[in-house]
């Protein structure tokens, strides 16, 4: 996260780290149910097998396992069938853990939006992750507040790409607070009036975040995929006996 700050344990209990040996942390991910996390499809390029992955939850410092940490293996990886590597569209995947997590104050699922719940431009939300801060890869979870940008305005930053309805743009013109490499798959969450935090985006792509090109980050639009997500979980849980 560029321009963010170090978070505190328990502030983002749905944040998880998707890890694969020998690299360790590869991508962020988000807990949405006791045995289900969301991340982005491009994290699995070159590592499609569930066997090489594990999910670590309840940590703040990647380098210091906490008492609240829970680690699970990956049982199933479901990539969106329309994911396209070339244009990074439909960049979302659902991961089934090998067993339920224990819900604690430091490991808890985030809410999913309803399919008709879409974010207005100029709404302020949070992004979190252990990705590049512009100068280094941090050990401690970083958080940053970003503003939702309209798709039309966003398209003007990315001439070479088509910003589709499967995407959300967030950040600032100057790119002062933005996600970066290593944050992919992590959450863009917004607090709803009732005080519940809801997941609206998954960090997906953007300009090369520690170079001259600035501009907002692009996130997979979770509202667009909610029905697909719920359907895949239902099929995996109830129909594949």
């Amino acid at each position: 996260i560029l321009g963010g700050r170090t978070s505190r344990p328990g502030r983002w209990p749905w944040q998880c780290s998707l890890q694969s040996e020998p690299s360790g942390h590869i991508c962020g991910c988000v807990l949405i149910a006791k045995r289900w996390v969301l991340t982005v499809a491009h994290c699995f390029e070159g590592r499609e097998s569930a066997a090489v992955w594990k999910v670590v939850l309840g940590i703040n410092n990647l380098d210091h396992p906490s008492a609240f940490m829970q680690t699970r293996l990956v049982k199933t990886i479901i990539l969106h069938p329309r994911y396209s590597r070339a244009v990074v569209d439909y960049d979302i995947s659902i991961v089934e853990l090998n067993e339920d997590i224990n819900a604690t104050s430091y490991v808890r699922p985030v809410c999913l939006p309803s399919p008709e719940q879409w974010l207005e431009a100029d709404t302020y939300c949070y992004i979190t992750g252990w990705g590049h801060t512009g100068s280094k890869m941090p050990f401690k979870l970083q958080e940053g507040e970003v503003r939702i940008i309209s798709l039309e305005q966003c398209q003007s930053y990315f001439d070479m790409k088509t910003i589709s309805s499967r995407m959300i743009c967030a950040g600032y013109e100057a790119g002062t607070v933005d996600s970066c490499m290593g944050d992919s798959g992590g959450p863009l969450v917004c607090e709803r009036p009732a005080g519940q935090w809801t997941l609206f985006g998954l960090t997906s792509w953007g300009s090369v975040c520690f170079s001259k090109v600035l501009g907002p980050g692009v996130y997979s639009n979770v509202s667009y995929f909610v029905e697909w997500i719920q359907r895949q979980i239902y099929i995996q849980t109830f129909l594949l006996d």
Partner: protein, 374 residues
Amino acid sequence: CLYNSCLDSCGGSSLCDPNNSRNNCSQCEPITLELCMNLPYNYTSYPNHLGHRTQKEASISWESSLFPALVQTNCYKYLMFFACTILVPKCDVDTGQRIPPCRALCELSKERCESVLGIVGLQWPEDTDCHQFPEENADNQTCLMPDQYVEECSPSHFKCRSGRCVLASRRCDGQADCDDDSDEENCGCKERDLWECPSNKQCLEHTVICDGFPDCPDSLDERNCSFCQDDELECVNHQCVSRDLWCDGQADCSDSSDEWACVTLSKNANSSSFLTVHRGATEHHVCADGWQETLSQLACKQMGLGEPSETKLLQQQENDQRWLMLHPLWGSLSGTTLHKLLVNGQSCESGSKISLLCNKQDCGRRPAARMTKR
């Protein structure tokens, strides 16, 4: 792998692991960078002249955005060709040798286009010092120069009638970008061999029509995709299955969509929510005979909700619609859906049906983040 592109074992996503064996990595690889898919050569080798280690890295680089945008200014006819010779340098498949652009090509590109970048406060990419490239025909070193067959525009561009290149994302975007406005001509879906959504004139590739994913606002691209018999229903993937098989607990559609959303809660006048099963795509209520709390939990979980908050047995009305009842041996039946445990009703002894309320999933709260009083 030192100084050469990594083989698949390193994938596109990370540095070569130190313990990676010293593969013979100086092999050519097919060009996959969309920007440079119309070159007079098809193989490249990495790292390239800009220091990118993989084509994936090149595809998200600053230069892969800069050059296509610069090509639109028409500053130099062969700028895109030069850009590709440094983004995806030619690799001679026979010798594995990399063939660089000639110095003249680099100097002409820089001479004609660097000033244009200066106007918008940008610089020519640092790593492209032309002296690193050989003179044309110098001591029989081969280098690349464009011939008359070289495409001036990349596959990511639209070629105006005037010959200029504008980014493909600007084709039919409602604003004329070509100097002759040709990018805003023939913008109808049919003229571009695309499928048109009746409601909003959105153009779709034919490949996404009837693929099970609605793309038009009113999902018309997923209508009239198959013609089922009267006693059949259409699956999401447009396969036809007999109506009797709908929500019978057994997936009959190859995408299992005949077993989706089979259990719901339907509101009625006094806002009790009756447990409803859509057997044969017809709403059925559930007879209360033999009901157990574990079944209420299964019903709520199957609907993606939290724990049941209330289970009531409500008297049936005379003109009540169809209902289902528990299979006599439901406890021993394998399989995990509620509707699989239900059979068409004979006599419902209790004369009552199930009304159910489920809590929402407990989510989005962060108890540890509370500010602690000091």
